[in-house]
């Protein structure tokens, strides 16, 4: 009965495995789960022998003053995307209901 939902099930299984892997990794070690961007920056510092702080922006940029503000902006970014997706899918769904033949 599920064969028309194969892709949904596969995706759920994928996400499930992903979460399990995360739980395993995070419980068994002292990983920081820092962003790979930052880990990459540290690697650059290591390769050049310069401290991370010595890399100053070439073009001055706005830095969110705290993690809270940063997460707000990231949430806004995702919410913006979510609104668009919902809007369009709903619009198409309405179109389809009106013209059931297509």
């Amino acid at each position: 009965m599920f064969s028309n939902r194969k892709l949904e099930i596969l995706t759920l299984v994928g996400i499930f495995v992903f979460v399990i892997l995360f739980l395993l990794v995070s419980s068994q070690s002292d990983h920081q789960f820092a962003g790979s961007d930052d880990v990459g920056s540290e690697k650059i510092a290591e390769l050049t022998g310069r401290p991370v702080e010595s890399f100053t922006p070439l073009i001055p940029q706005y830095v969110p003053p705290s993690g809270e503000i940063e997460s707000t902006l990231f949430a806004l970014q995702a919410a913006f995307g979510g609104v668009i997706v919902g809007l369009v899918i709903g619009y198409w769904y309405g179109q389809k209901k009106r013209t059931p033949d297509t």
């Binding site: 009965m1 064969s3 028309n4 892709l7 949904e8 596969l10 995706t11 994928g14 996400i15 992903f18 892997l21 995360f22 990794v25 995070s26 070690s29 990983h31 920081q32 789960f33 820092a34 962003g35 790979s36 961007d37 930052d38 880990v39 990459g40 920056s41 690697k43 650059i44 390769l47 050049t48 890399f55 100053t56 922006p57 070439l58 073009i59 940029q61 706005y62 830095v63 969110p64 940063e70 902006l73 990231f74 949430a75 970014q77 995702a78 913006f80 995307g81 979510g82 609104v83 668009i84 997706v85 809007l87 369009v88 899918i89 619009y91 198409w92 769904y93 179109q95 389809k96 297509t102």
Partner: protein, 238 residues
Amino acid sequence: MHIMEGFLPWQWCLVWWLVALPFLVVGVIELRSLLRRDREYLPLLGVCGAFVFILSALKLPSVTGSCSHPTGTGLSVMCFKPYITAVIGFIVLLFQALLLAHGGLSTLGANMVSMAIGGPLVGYAVYRLLKNTSVNLYVTVFCVAAVADIVTYIITSFELALAYPAAVGGVMASFTAFFVIFAITQIPLSVIEGLVLALVFKYILELKPDLIEKLGVFSKEQIESALASDAHVPEEKV
């Protein structure tokens, strides 16, 4: 996959900006002519762009003990080809550079080359390879999305390796080092991204098969057979 502001010597910033700019310019021209031709594509463009926005905002933990984000460019590159995808990627990266200090204006060129251009281009090559074969349409979407994602990070590693060759072993040694940080972390994420985008594509196809056909993403026969296999089972249940 962002190269942080200040972490790339200005010479390399310039090189990658010069590589990225033509794509951006052609993309804007293509985008304008597409929308002038037919406003019907605008909603689909919105959905493709929106997934880049959503997925690149999600920093997910990976098996290597660090976090990274998917890119979401696979859908867009299949529906609208690489140039327009470059524009979408540019908008997302610009937002993150200006407001989030993820990447910066000087490294925007390099970040575009990896996320908005290089990854999608290789994804597009995969799509062209699989398009006219008997490979299931959703498998194709999965492969395109996953490849576009992982290649983005391979290119980032390469960009950094070129700018920072290791004292011992040169470019290859430092490529390996960055590859471990970026690309290995990305493997599980790209699998998830592939699955999610294949699922999204399924819903788009169910609602708007005509649009996908008109854009020539897949042929009428491929779309019909995919829809038929989806719709087959509810009839059995009745």
